[in-house]
């Protein structure tokens, strides 16, 4: 019989939960189910409307997706510990700085700015946001220039909403 040390209990529970989700997603027989391979390809950056659709409506698939992402992400920013007084809190981790800047030209748009301090490392191509309510948004990023990645998002988008929430977990892939 396997004994789990009490200090590792929480971690073990999480791992068992993830494995359970993976098995369930892989063995699902109902129509609209997707393979783990397709989900992994999507994590790696492939475009797949079916995966995008199922991620939007199936919490278990989102959880599997998150655990796959955690293993391959270039940067992981866990939930921020302190509340922020800013509308859009700046986030820092692993030599990476993410911030939103209001556009003067279009008040309904925001600049999403990702700054990487080490320009020699691989530059991320996508931003993945996981809200405290387990919603998820993926934003495709343009190429970096001098360690800076800049794009525009709508102020009323889910991405802006999640970036304004300190408890949003962020992955850069």
């Amino acid at each position: 019989m396997t004994h789990i040390h009490p200090d590792l209990l929480e971690d073990a529970q999480q791992r068992f939960g993830e494995l359970h989700n993976v098995r369930e997603v892989m063995t699902k027989r109902e129509s609209g189910a997707i393979s783990l391979g397709r989900l992994y390809a999507y994590v790696q950056g492939a475009q797949d409307d079916a995966v995008q659709d199922i991620l939007g409506r199936d919490l278990k698939v989102r959880r599997v997706y998150r655990s796959l992402l955690q293993k391959s992400a270039l940067v992981h920013m866990p939930q921020a510990l302190a509340a922020s007084t800013q509308d859009y809190p700046e986030r820092h981790a692993d030599g990476c700085h993410i911030r939103l800047q209001a556009s003067r030209a279009q008040s309904d748009q925001l600049y999403l700015i990702v700054e990487m301090s080490d320009q020699r490392r691989d530059m991320p191509q996508s931003l993945h946001l996981f809200g405290p309510d387990e919603t998820m948004v993926r934003v495709a990023l343009p190429a970096a220039r001098n360690g800076v990645i800049q794009t525009i998002i709508e102020r009323n988008s889910d991405a802006a909403r999640l970036l304004g929430e300190p408890k949003t977990e962020i992955f850069l892939r």
């Binding site: 800047q101 343009p142 190429a143 220039r145 525009i152």
Partner: protein, 356 residues
């Protein structure tokens, strides 16, 4: 304040520089139709602006903000021929005597294609014939209206344009350096010497007197043909006009899944042709189309519902992506032949805003 419309010539049609805004962001960006869509050449634009690699901050700076947002009316794919138009737009933006304009209210339309190097020399570019062809339909309206138009390009490109005898109302400017460009814009030293009566005002008056309409075949004849200009003297009867609108007005907003309501009115019996330009720049011919069996001329002074009613000949259901799209309808007293965008036709546009 002189109003100048800057057109960047592309093989897909002329693209208007709509607006320049200094922005407190690390990178300059070029955006499509004031939407959040960033053009693929945006990083090249950032290089062109940035002090050190580019010329804009060096020539027109410093600005308190580190970057610009430049909004354009249509997509610009690849290459660097946009640099001349962008340089001109920044010169106008910096100037205290002129401002960027739309086409309708412009005192001068400047159509540009060329590169600008670090020493401010203007370089020649490819595909000039296609760029002029793609611009002919739009510019014919403004020639008829009497707005002075200048085609500006590098020396060899300008020689090519001049050799094919552009119609009255269009002047070709041969640009060796950006100093020549500044003279065309009225921002150089030559223009100040000229006094109040500018060359372009005279050119505009001459154009207005004739009501010249040009066709592609006249502007760039085939090899062996004699260059000729198609000139039509307006008849006594009123000019054919077309108005397009929807039951939600001339700038309607639709949600995904709704049907586009498109209505047309002409002042004389006319044949119609309508195109729908999507956010991604793709143009779809929506009238005539496969669902319309009996294509006929439309009666004058009647509101014809083309799309989205029980009696309408077809229906257009709107869907993603969100953004601003454009319906353009052309009217002519003779049936349209072929699938090309007509050049000598009355035209009206309706902007459609799509939201999820």
């Amino acid at each position: 304040m002189k109003r100048i419309a800057i057109l960047i010539a592309t093989t897909g049609g002329p693209v208007l520089v709509d607006r320049i805004t200094p922005e407190p962001a690390p990178q300059s960006m070029m955006c499509l139709r004031r939407q959040s869509e960033v053009l693929p050449i945006s990083l090249d634009y950032d290089d062109f602006v940035r002090a050190g690699s580019g010329v804009i901050m060096r020539e027109f700076g410093p600005y308190e903000e580190g970057a610009f947002r430049l909004d354009v009316s249509g997509p610009i794919g690849t290459g660097l021929s946009w640099q001349l138009g962008v340089f001109a737009a920044h010169a106008v933006f910096k100037s205290k005597s002129c401002e960027l304009s739309d086409l309708e209210t412009a005192d001068l339309i400047v159509w540009l294609s060329g590169t600008v190097d670090n020493d401010l020399n203007i370089g020649d570019v490819d595909h000039m014939a296609q760029k002029v062809e793609a611009s002919a339909g739009m510019l014919a309206d403004y020639i008829a209206k009497g707005t002075p138009i200048v085609f500006g390009a590098g020396v060899e490109n300008a020689a090519f344009l001049s050799a094919h005898k552009p119609p009255g109302g269009i002047d070709v400017a041969s640009l060796k350096t950006t100093r020549d460009l500044m003279d065309v814009l009225g921002l150089g030293t030559k223009d100040k010497d000229r006094g109040n009566t500018t060359f372009w005002m005279m050119a505009g008056a001459a154009t207005l007197a004739l009501g010249v309409v040009f066709a592609w075949s006249g502007l760039f004849p085939q090899e062996g043909e004699k260059p000729e200009l198609e000139i039509k003297i307006p008849e006594a009867k009123p000019k054919l006009t077309i108005d397009i609108f929807s039951d939600r007005g001339q700038h309607p907003t639709y949600a995904f899944g709704e049907d586009l309501n498109l209505q047309v009115r002409v002042n004389r019996k006319a044949w119609l042709l309508c195109d729908y330009e999507q956010v991604d720049g793709k143009v779809i011919r929506i009238y005539p189309n496969d669902q319309v069996r009996d294509v006929q001329a439309f009666d004058a002074h009647t509101d014809h519902i083309l799309s989205a009613s029980e009696n309408a000949p077809f229906r257009i259901r709107l869907g993603p992506p969100a953004g601003q799209e454009t319906v353009t309808c052309y009217a002519r007293e003779e049936p349209f032949r072929g699938s090309a965008r007509p050049v000598n036709a009355a035209m009206d546009r309706m902007r459609v805003t799509l939201k999820p």
